[in-house]
Symmetry: C3
Subunit: 243 residues, 3 copies
């Protein structure tokens, strides 16, 4: 649909690996990936269980980088990084396919809008301005006594358990002194790479998203632990033990 | 292979998600997707269990849109939509890789032919004209008494159960009065979107292919029902009940 | 990352289907696929369990075709085919993302180096010359009495069991006389295509990689046999039987 409108468009298939209906995972992956694309990129995100309902189709101009998709929270984490943005509800049917289905707006609305936008149609032509959009919130990290309480927010296809604890939360002066707990498992010290954990049951590492991740070297931490998104992860200082 | 012949070719990976050897699913997806591509597109379809046997490799010129692949029925549903087409058996080895394997004509025949065709080589140069090709037939919808008898023809990766009943078969004046049966499950009324079925066990909706689909909102109807391709689906008018 | 550096780069997603950490499978697929790309292609291979450790990041110039990735053996099978090559360790941080993570050098080193290389930066600018790299060796085929002893080296997504026995090992004058054994199963004769094996439990065929493959027509030989990579495969001459 997009290439039929703009044959010169360059399409990058960022991921077809988001689990069905998992808007939160889509929001996370979009945040991590979108900041490595050049300004001017048009990001089309279609994790859209509410397609055809009264959830609004959106175009967001975030300082010259664009996001197109449903108003279901999938853009929650990218807007946090941009102070100024203009939001439009895609209410102008002139830029939609006709007839329009009730089950696939990726094809019927988002793709053609992306095509026309890439040809230079101004954002305001696609519909009415919108003030607020649906936001999912980043789960808060709690500091309790000497411990940080976080949780698993995403599990990637390697089974790595990614938490909401960022490198800024951790502020660690002595990585070897850190103790991470997940269920009844305890990981001592922060690794710098997966290979640091060769031989260990599990490792903890600050990953390429800047988030604390529990992993297994050349293995699958999800299968090893049975952990799920939402499971609690605790980070404390390893106590000096007298033996 | 294709880019080695025509470095300017623009390749779109439409799907690598067709189940192995499922020619029928390939034919369905090709029909639904190909009509949204611009005229002049060359569609290469490689669901090809008969590769290396005497099944013929084909090039079809369907009014300036081209189809390349095996003569096994995968083009059954696209030709139904085009009144005039020219078919060539890819018998001219000048446009094949040498040596040619017996197990991967996607690489050895279809890709190079697509490359040379995109450079302007005329269709007739690739081999001999062919009159008829293998056709799979669309399962007929039967009207029995006041009911339509159809079946599941495809199950997508979300577990949606797609039937052979089209919007033209349904001709529904009162969507709320329709009753759909699959096994011992009964769905009352047609939804306009998946979200219409929030809270319901299953919904029925006319999907983006124009076909009746049984789905579960934010769920997986295949896992819910255990249904398979070929299972019967009945559509009738909901009886007025006196209670 | 790459398109941010060179917006004109043409990216081909060769495979996202290599199993996690399976360097050997990556090396095999890279060998089979890379020789069909035009000279000048830059191949980026990221099966990289040792990311962030002291394993070296590499750029290899193999006669004008380039390979970028970790020094873990993934380039073992492509260098065997090129007599002359120049190898550079990617030690120059000028061409890396900053900050650089310890878990994703595909993003932080390999992609930006590929981008700058595609813009014409000479290979030597990316770091220091390297003499030797990690090599995985092709499992040897043994000839014992009248039999060849090989093994399964790869299983593709169709469940085809691909062995280390090449068409050159086989040198078969009478394909019908060959007998192939895998566990307690015996396959008589070499097929020319999968369809040759219609009706048979299993077939053996020289595949598009030039390797002996055990397959099931319109089926999955891995599921049929339960075989794994490393399982032994024996090829002998069928004995003349007097009945």
């Amino acid at each position: 649909v997009l290439l039929g409108i703009n044959p010169e468009a360059q399409i990058v298939d960022l991921s077809h690996g988001i689990a069905p209906q998992d808007v939160w995972a889509g929001a996370l992956v979009l945040r991590q990936a979108s900041r490595f694309f050049p300004t001017g990129t048009i990001h089309v995100a279609v994790v859209d269980p509410g397609v055809g309902s009264n959830r609004r189709p959106l175009l967001i101009d975030a300082g010259g980088t664009f996001f197109i998709g449903p108003d279901n929270g999938i853009f929650s984490l990218v807007l946090g990084e941009s102070a100024r943005h203009q939001i439009v509800e895609l209410s102008n049917p002139h830029y939609h396919l006709i007839p329009k289905s009730g089950t696939f707006h990726g094809r019927d609305i988002f793709a053609p809008v992306a095509g026309y936008l890439s040809l230079g149609v101004p954002a305001k032509d696609f519909g009415e301005p919108v003030e607020n959009i649906v936001k999912l919130s980043w789960p808060a990290v709690a500091a309790v006594d000497q411990e940080l309480h976080g949780e698993i927010v995403y599990i990637d296809r390697f089974g790595n358990l990614i938490t909401n604890l960022s490198d800024r939360d951790l502020k660690i002066d002595d990585p070897a002194s850190v103790e991470i707990r997940l269920g009844d498992r305890v990981i001592r010290g922060l690794a710098k790479s997966y290979a640091d954990g060769a031989g260990a049951e599990l490792i903890a590492v600050v990953n390429s998203w800047g988030l604390l991740e529990i992993a297994q070297f050349s293995g699958n931490a999800q299968m090893k632990t049975g952990a799920n998104v939402g499971d609690k992860v605790y980070v404390g200082k390893r106590e000096t033990r007298y033996v």
